[in-house]
């Protein structure tokens, strides 16, 4: 399509133009709203904030924005695949490739990860009695780096340069030999920048959990979400570093003529090893925090403590460890040889054991309880059978010789959506409904929440269950159509209907948020009859929490004092607390890194050097405005 504005004529495909127009309209509406209700002070405060709840809220807000964008991609994918030999809009060939690449990359890096990090940010300090994360400034930097990475990645589409190499970016397709345009660079740099932020946040969470637990909050009294966060953060530290290295090497291959992943000395299989040494732990990085959320919600609404707490902790740690030993099960068809294929089949099977322990412990937590079907509980209950179904196909995939059939077919697409949606996405929704009082001081509507839950759950099974059959009937993944004679029509059509049911569920969620904020009915500190420390602080949680500092007397500390009908004991004798001070520097740092990166993508090296100098200058400014300066060298000041 050609458009001419002010004498310039631009040609762009109609989907890109549609995106520009709708973005401009949305931007206009938002600007109008901001000006009319004078939200500038609010925006300014969020730009400068280093408070864990506010940063967590930002993570969730933008994670959800990108979730919607990637969800829209999913609907477009499903429309194109709805019927055989379809030509929906222009989503065939490279446009289809860009769709699944954006969908996958955004869902993993810019939707699931940030929403989980957001929940960790909000909840972990409240669960362990910390006043903030250990390094509030770094926390803001981490968030804004994620934001910058997402911005870069999203921008590619608006310039009609979206990457089309799959979320796995396999070499040599991703090298400059086969995709010389900037499209693949957007993938490399977008993921790299946000990954850096993720590493910072992981470090921050680790230190927070080690250093800033309230008096009496021993390791084996920590809520399971905190445990899951701790293990996850360590995994992020290891896995995302590998990803960073892989992307770095790929950047050199693409821009500076090295040949790590092609040519006589390089090997495309190296990329696959690096990517999956990151990629497999990544799927547990997505799942473990969700397990943690369910492990806190299920006891609350069963009215009894988690069954087998120590086994739960042990299995989290074991899953975290084992997840680093199985990466090559994504590479069973690359010819690693019989021995390695067998080895990775066995290691993969072993992960089923700790996972199974967790499932049964959740089940036996329900036994003998008094189950209240609130919306967070519904999401948690929906998770159990759904996730087990994904686990079942997981074990089937680990059978190497059988995987020669499953691999890269729609069966695999069915499998990983089963596990990721059941754990991560249901977990995130459960967490948002459960913690909305702490985030916003409001409780989301239960009736609309139930609509959201049922539509989403039914749509999810309707989309992904038939997809197993589609795969077993021989449909590969990443193909944009099939023939009427292939026997794939019925199951594909069912999947498309299911996807729209899920979409309808999400619309109910939007409506719910809108309605809840319009009615604006404040909620109590402990609306769910909770068991842990986060329900002792006001809703929404203020910037100065835990003053005075509570003393933790066991697991489920709030429950203990509720049963004994007394108040929580407090103390003034505790470790020094993190010092938070608002600062605009994190945003500026992230923006200059984004600008630097943008110039790198287009190989404007001089401009990027200038932004690099700018970034360095910001580091110097930072070192002169360190809020902890007065405390250095004075030991444990409080």
């Amino acid at each position: 399509m050609e458009i001419s504005i002010f004498g310039f004529s631009i040609s762009a495909p109609s989907d890109v133009i549609a995106a520009w127009i709708s973005t401009v309209i949305m931007g206009g509406i938002i600007t109008f709203y901001v000006v009319k209700t004078n939200k500038f002070p609010l925006i300014w405060s969020y730009l400068r904030t280093t408070n864990h709840r506010k940063i967590g809220t930002l993570y969730i807000l933008f994670g959800f924005l990108f979730f919607s964008r990637a969800g829209l991609d999913a609907l477009l994918i499903r429309l194109q695949l709805a019927v055989p030999n379809n030509e929906f809009w222009l989503f065939q060939f490279e446009k289809y490739d860009q769709l699944f690449t954006t969908h996958g990359t955004m869902m993993i890096f810019f939707a699931a990860m940030p929403m989980l990090l957001g929940l960790m940010n909000i909840v972990v300090p409240l669960q362990i009695g910390a006043r903030d994360l250990a390094f509030p400034f770094l926390n803001a930097v981490g968030f804004w780096l994620f934001f910058a990475g997402a911005l870069i990645f999203n921008f590619s589409f608006f310039l009609n340069s979206a990457p089309g190499i799959g979320w796995t970016g396999y070499a040599p397709l991703s090298t400059s030999i086969f995709t010389p345009d900037v499209n693949s660079d957007y993938y490399v740099f977008g993921v790299q920048v946000s990954g850096l932020g993720t590493i910072f946040t992981a470090l921050n969470l680790i230190v927070t959990i080690i250093r800033h637990r309230a008096p009496g909050m021993k390791w084996f009294r920590m809520p399971l979400f905190t445990w899951a966060t701790f293990v996850t953060a360590i995994m992020i530290l290891l896995a995302f570093t590998v990803l960073a290295i892989a992307l770095y090497l790929l950047m050199f291959d693409r821009m500076f003529g090295t040949k790590f992943f092609s040519g006589p000395d390089g090997d495309p299989v190296y990329w696959q090893h690096l990517f999956w040494i990151f990629g497999h732990p990544e799927v547990y990085i997505l799942a473990l925090p969700a397990f943690g959320i369910f492990s806190d919600i299920i006891p609350t609404f069963s009215g009894k403590r988690i069954f087998g707490y120590s086994a739960m902790v042990f299995s989290i740690v074991l899953i975290g460890f084992l997840s680093f030993t199985v990466w090559a099960h994504h590479m069973l068809t690359v010819g690693l040889g019989p021995l390695l294929n067998t080895f990775f089949a066995i290691t993969t099977m072993t992960i089923a054991v700790p996972t199974g322990i967790k499932i049964f412990n959740w089940l036996f937590t329900l036994q003998g309880g008094l189950i209240r079907f609130t919306v967070p509980m519904l999401f948690s209950l929906g998770f159990i059978p759904s996730f087990v179904m994904g686990g079942v196909t997981g074990v089937m995939l680990s059978v190497s010789a059988a995987d020669f059939q499953f691999h890269d077919s729609q069966f695999v697409v069915a499998h990983f959506h089963y596990v990721i949606l059941a754990s991560t996405i249901l977990g995130i929704f459960a967490g948002i409904y459960y913690y909305y009082p702490k985030m916003m001081g409001l409780r989301l509507d239960e009736t609309l929440g139930k609509w959201h839950f049922w539509l989403f759950l039914i749509g999810y099974h309707l989309t992904f269950f038939p997809m197993h059959i589609t795969g077993l009937n021989g449909m590969p993944r990443r193909v944009f159509t099939y023939d009427p004679g292939d026997g794939l029509t019925v199951t594909n059509f069912m999947s498309t209907i299911g996807a729209f049911l899920m979409g309808a569920g999400i619309l109910f969620f939007f409506w719910n948020i809108f309605k809840t904020h319009r009615e604006n009915e404040p909620v109590s500190d402990d609306p769910w009859n909770g068991r842990t420390l986060e329900w002792t602080v006001p809703s929404p949680s203020p910037e100065e929490t835990f003053d005075p500092m509570p003393v933790v007397e066991g697991m489920d500390p709030l429950w203990i004092v509720k049963k004994e009908g007394r108040e929580m004991r407090t103390t003034t004798d505790h470790r020094s607390t993190p010092i938070a001070r608002d600062s605009i520097l994190p945003v500026l740092m992230a923006l200059s890194l984004a600008a630097l990166t943008f110039c790198m993508i287009y190989q404007w090296f001089i401009a990027s050097a200038i932004f690099a100098v700018g970034l360095f200058a910001l580091f110097i400014v930072r070192s002169f405005t360190d809020e902890k300066k007065e405390h250095y060298g004075k030991g444990e000041a409080s």
Binding site: F93, F178, K304, G335, V353, N473, G474, V479
Partner: protein, 235 residues
């Protein structure tokens, strides 16, 4: 909740048992049959787990749900139960071992690797497969080569020597057997045993660029004598 569980479960069995027409579960080579056997075995073993979980889940959720009659009930905290927890640790281990034994056997036998057999044995036909954006080329033992059409002799073991001229593709004939990747920098060998007469469709299973979807080929398995005549005609 309970109804949903049952619905899913019955759907699961119905769809799979009713559909012996599903390509991968009804393959036309003994290599593919071994793979289908593993699929059924793993599905069967895992279905046991699935049923136990679904039943426990439905039962607990139904029995312990909140109701007017139970609203004053105070649940008792249970820390855990060593014996029970050991049970559901050990039983899965046993189930996995049962699954692992045939997995190891068949995987060791079938895995593609880089060492080609030098001289074709009796009953083995060699095919050299070349993948490139976006077509397949098949070279028969007598040197004749054809594009996007693969003709094979029935009841023979077929040894494929695969390599690519550009990037990674993946060679897959779902109705015969599993896939194997095709690399630019190495040659892989994959054997499909006892192929049966029929017409099938082959596909590229590794995303390789714009025309990946259309990188398909047709497969015909014909009588041995017909095959000989066919390759001689090609010359």
């Amino acid at each position: 909740m309970k109804k949903l569980g049952l619905l899913i479960l019955s759907g699961f069995t119905l769809m799979l048992s009713g559909c012996s027409g599903i390509n991968v579960l009804d393959p036309k080579s003994s290599t593919g049959k071994d793979q289908a056997y593993l699929i059924w075995l793993s599905l069967g073993i895992m279905a046991l787990v699935l049923i136990v979980v679904f039943i426990l889940f439905a039962y607990f959720v139904y029995k312990y749900r909140y109701s007017e009659a139970r609203k004053d009930y105070e649940p008792v905290d249970v820390e855990g139960n060593r014996k029970l927890e050991l049970t559901y640790t050990i039983i899965p281990v046993i189930l996995l071992i049962i699954l692992a034994v045939p997995t190891v056997r068949i995987t060791m036998e079938q895995s593609p690797d880089t060492s080609a057999s030098q001289k074709p044995e009796d009953g083995t036909t060699k095919i050299e497969v070349t993948g490139r954006q976006f077509e397949w080329e098949f070279k028969h033992e007598n040197g004749a080569s054809v594009k996007d059409e693969l003709v094979l002799p029935e009841d023979e073991d077929i040894e494929f020597n695969l390599h690519s001229e550009d990037l990674i593709h993946s060679f897959w004939i779902p109705e015969l057997a599993g896939k194997v990747d095709v690399f630019p920098n190495k040659e892989l060998n994959y054997v499909i045993r006892d192929v049966e007469r029929g017409e099938y469709e082959g596909k590229c299973a590794e995303f390789c660029g714009v025309q990946h979807t259309n990188m398909t080929f047709s497969v015909k398995v014909i009588g041995k004598e017909d095959y000989k005549a066919y390759i001689n005609d090609l010359k």
